[in-house]
C-alpha cells in the first residue's frame, strides 16, 4: 500500500479533515482544518471528496518520503516546496515518486499549509472524523518522525482528478484583514462603547494564537458597570454554548476569537460572532498582523 513516511516535523503537523460536528452536547468540539478553504481546494484539485483527511502543517518544517508513487497537492500558507533538490509547485497536483522526499519550508505568509494526497490519508476515525484536537487529545496523535501514513486507494469515491495545472491562488492576506461579524449574543453584558470600539479599531493578533483561538490586543473592552455595585464582583454569565468564530471578552477586556478547537461552552460574554467562512482567514494570521471587524446583519 502506498504511504507517506514522516521524516521531520516543524512546530506542529496534524491530520485534519472537515471535523466532527454534532457532538458539542457531550463536550466534543468541531475541530477539523483551521483553514477549511485550503483543505477543500487541495482535495478538489486531486479529485478527492472535499473533506478527505490531509495534513495541516504549522509554519513548515515537514519532510515526508513516498512509499509507492503518491499524487499530492499543497495549498494554504505559501511554503517553498522541494522534491529532493527541485522546486515543486503550490496549488497544483504533482506526483511524488516512490522513494522521493518532499520538504516544506517556512511559509512566506500565513501559518498553516495543507498537504493532501490523491485518495486521502487512511486514518482511523473518531466520532466520524480523522481530525486531531491536540488540546483535548481527540483523534490521531500529532505527527512525529517515523510515522507512516497510509494513502487510500484513489478509486474509492470522488470525481476524476481536475484537469488543471494551477489553481486560483489561496495565499492568505498578509495583514489588515477585514472579517464580518454578527453582533451578539451578549453585547449587552458590555459597556455601550464596546461594540463601536470593536468595529472601529484595528486589532493586533497576539503571540498567543493557536487552533483554540486567536487572542487579540487593542483598546480594552469594558464590562457593563452595575450601578451602585462598583465595589462588588461583577455578575458571572451562566455557562452557555460557544461556536467557532465567537468573540469572547474575558475580564482582561482583550477579545479572543474561537477557532476550530474552541471549547463547547464558556462563561465569558460573547460580544459578536465572526461569520463562519471568515474564521478560516483568521486562522492564517500571524502574531503582529492586524484585523478589523465589519458588522453584518443577523440574517433572521
Amino acid at each position: 500500500m502506498t504511504a507517506l513516511v514522516v521524516e521531520a516535523v516543524g512546530p506542529l503537523a496534524l491530520v485534519e479533515d472537515l471535523g466532527r460536528p454534532g457532538h458539542a452536547s457531550i463536550g466534543v468540539t468541531g475541530s477539523g482544518a483551521a483553514d477549511r478553504r485550503a483543505l477543500r481546494l487541495a482535495n478538489r484539485l486531486l479529485g478527492n471528496p472535499e473533506g478527505a483527511p490531509a495534513l495541516e502543517v504549522l509554519l513548515g518544517g515537514l519532510a515526508v518520503r513516498a512509499e509507492g508513487t503518491v499524487r499530492v497537492c499543497v495549498t494554504g500558507a505559501p511554503a517553498p516546496l522541494q522534491v529532493d533538490d527541485r522546486a515543486a509547485p503550490l496549488d497544483a497536483p504533482f506526483d511524488l515518486p516512490d522513494g522521493r522526499r518532499l520538504r516544506m519550508g517556512m511559509p512566506r505568509t500565513g501559518l498553516r499549509t495543507y498537504l493532501a494526497v490523491r485518495g486521502g490519508l487512511a486514518v482511523p476515525l473518531v466520532l466520524g472524523s480523522a481530525s486531531t484536537d491536540p488540546t483535548m487529545g481527540v483523534g490521531p496523535a500529532p505527527l512525529a518522525p517515523g510515522r507512516r501514513l497510509a494513502v487510500r486507494a484513489s478509486d474509492r469515491g470522488g470525481a476524476a482528478p481536475v484537469d488543471v495545472d494551477v489553481a486560483a491562488p489561496t495565499a492568505p492576506p498578509v495583514t489588515d484583514v477585514v472579517v464580518r461579524v454578527v453582533v451578539g449574543p451578549r453585547d449587552d453584558w458590555l459597556a455601550p462603547a464596546a461594540v463601536p470600539t470593536l468595529l472601529s479599531r484595528p486589532w493586533t493578533v497576539s503571540a498567543d494564537t493557536d487552533r483554540v483561538g486567536v487572542r487579540l490586543t487593542g483598546p480594552r473592552l469594558d464590562r457593563l458597570a452595575v450601578s451602585g455595585r462598583s465595589d462588588s464582583a461583577p455578575p458571572e454569565l451562566p455557562s452557555e454554548a460557544v461556536v467557532r468564530g465567537a468573540v469572547q471578552v474575558p475580564h482582561s477586556g482583550q477579545p479572543l476569537v474561537f477557532l476550530a478547537d474552541h471549547p463547547t461552552t464558556g462563561g465569558y460574554p460573547v460580544i459578536a460572532v465572526v461569520v463562519d467562512d471568515d474564521t478560516d482567514v483568521l486562522a492564517q494570521l500571524r502574531p503582529g498582523e492586524r484585523v478589523r471587524f465589519r458588522r453584518v446583519p443577523r440574517g433572521w
Partner: protein
Amino acid sequence: MKLLPCGDRALLAEVADARERRRLDATLRRHPLPGSVELVPGALTVLVVAAAPQDLPGLATALRELVLDPDEAPDESDDLVVEVRYDGPDLQDVATSVDISPDEVVERHTSQVWTVEFAGFAPGFGYLTGSEGGLEVPRRDSPRTRIPAGSVGLAGPYSGIYPRPSPGGWQLIGRSDARLWDADRDPPALLTPGRRVHFVEVGR
C-alpha cells in the same frame, strides 16, 4: 423565550430557569426543527445550530412558535450509579466552607439525585446539579495543574467528574473508577445532558 443572534450559523434560545431549559432541550430533541443540525444546552440556553445560513429565518420563526412539551416524569431506568471513594484532598475544606462535617458532605452528595445539565470543559465532562440544591462551594483560589482522571469535584452549584487528567479549579471530594469517556463506545460519554446520577460511597 428570548432569541439571541449567534453568528450566521446558529441561534441562542434563552429561557428563565434550568427547568424550562431542560423542557426546551427535550422538546427540540423529540421534534427536531427542519434545518437544525445540532443542539447544545447551557445553563439557561439551548444553542440551535443551522445547517446553512439560509435556514436561520425559518428556525427563528419555528422557535418563536414552539410549544414546549409538558414536563415528564424522569425515566429512572436509565439512571447511572457512580461509586465514589470519598478521599478527596478538599473534603475538609468543603466541609469547613459549608459549615458541616466531612461525613455530612458525603451524606449530602450521596443522598441527592444529580442531573447532567450540560457538558463542556472536556469530552465527557458534565455539569451536574443536585435535586436538593447540591453543595454550593467556591472554586479553589488557585487551580491545580494536574487532576487525576476520575476525580469527583464541586464548584458553584455543580458537581462533576474529570474524564481525563487535566488542570482544574474544582474542589475535589473523591474519586471514581467510572469510564466517563470511551471514544469506541456509543455514546462515548456516560454523562449526557438530562441523565440522572446517584453517587454511592465505597470508602474513604
